[in-house]
Symmetry: C2
Subunit: 195 residues, 2 copies
């Protein structure tokens, strides 16, 4: 009793973490809510809409986690806290996390109301301020950081790392590497062709 878009989204998110985002289905969500499939369409436009809402919810949650983790920290400390919060979220909420990363068109009106993605970007730029990079280096650094973190957890989730060496160890080394890289950011792009 008392369905709302939020409740539907939340159940969808839980389901995504349990069985994978691709198995989040209208029927399954309805089943879990003790309701018929058709009833969901009063609160959510369709399956894609639901997935978009899950993505936005996840983006918000992830941003909050990172914000809490980095609060009051700076420099290397902040970087490590940022990265660990990112990875922890991906581990705890795999379905939600992949939702944030799945390319899809989300209702622009919903996006406008969501604060997560915007805040995430500000947060990242602020966190990197300690490294004193100027544009466009700052943007490049933000992108490289996001690429590395996302790539790592994504490969990890896909089972891309053989068991030989614990992923944990590689993670620590990677953060080290990222930190020293940010501190010694190559001053000028070598004008070599990279095409």
């Amino acid at each position: 009793m008392g369905l709302t878009a939020e409740r539907v989204t939340l159940v969808g998110a839980e389901l995504a973490d349990e069985v994978g985002l691709e198995h989040v289905t209208m029927s399954a969500v309805a089943r879990r809510l003790g309701v018929k499939d058709a009833s969901l369409y009063a609160h959510v436009r369709n399956l894609d809409d639901l997935r978009g809402r899950i993505a936005l919810l996840a983006a918000d949650e992830k941003t909050v986690r990172i914000a809490e983790a980095t609060a009051g920290r700076a420099g290397r400390d902040a970087l490590v806290a940022y990265a660990n919060a990112w990875r922890a979220y991906a581990h705890e909420c795999p379905g939600r996390y992949t939702a944030t990363q799945t390319p899809m068109e989300i209702d622009p009106e919903l996006v406008a109301r969501a604060t997560g993605p915007r805040r995430a970007i500000e947060l990242t730029y602020r966190m990197l301020r300690a490294y004193e990079l100027d544009e466009p280096d700052l943007t490049d650094a933000v992108r490289l950081l996001r690429s590395t973190l996302h790539g790592f957890v994504s490969l990890e989730a896909a089972g891309g790392f053989a068991h030989a060496r614990p992923a944990e160890a590689t993670w620590a080394r990677s953060l080290d590497a990222l930190h020293t890289l940010l501190e010694n950011w190559p001053a000028h792009p070598t004008e070599g062709d990279s095409t």
Copy 2:
């Protein structure tokens, strides 16, 4: 006429590039082959099996591309060629690429016959040999490299980079950064807590 598992897989791969891996469906593949859905089951166990075969095909193709691109190169040249071949494959064959990255259980017998994944690893280790890293640093470097490349193209595909600065420029800088990072690989892991 003359369906084979290979032909089904190939059509599936084409379809994946055109409409996205998640829209590769038995019906769609059958339609494109001018055949009834049920006929495919003589050559492919089921939809998951088909997707697994696409993934293996893609892994092979990507490995070949990278091998060709890096042949006869070393050091920075090899790194740039490797990375560009990786990214080019992801751009040209987005559906196949995401297949390589989708976590799924593939028929072990098929995996055993696929040379792509194995070769890819050898290739990467060989390519990084110029940087003269010892284990376990070498493994960490391989993982970091793969993380960064995959993360970048993945974010790029998901529309994660706003249009402000061309992704191309960030890519070039990132390769620079990766190169200098590999040349000055931090000697010893700082024993800081990263948990």
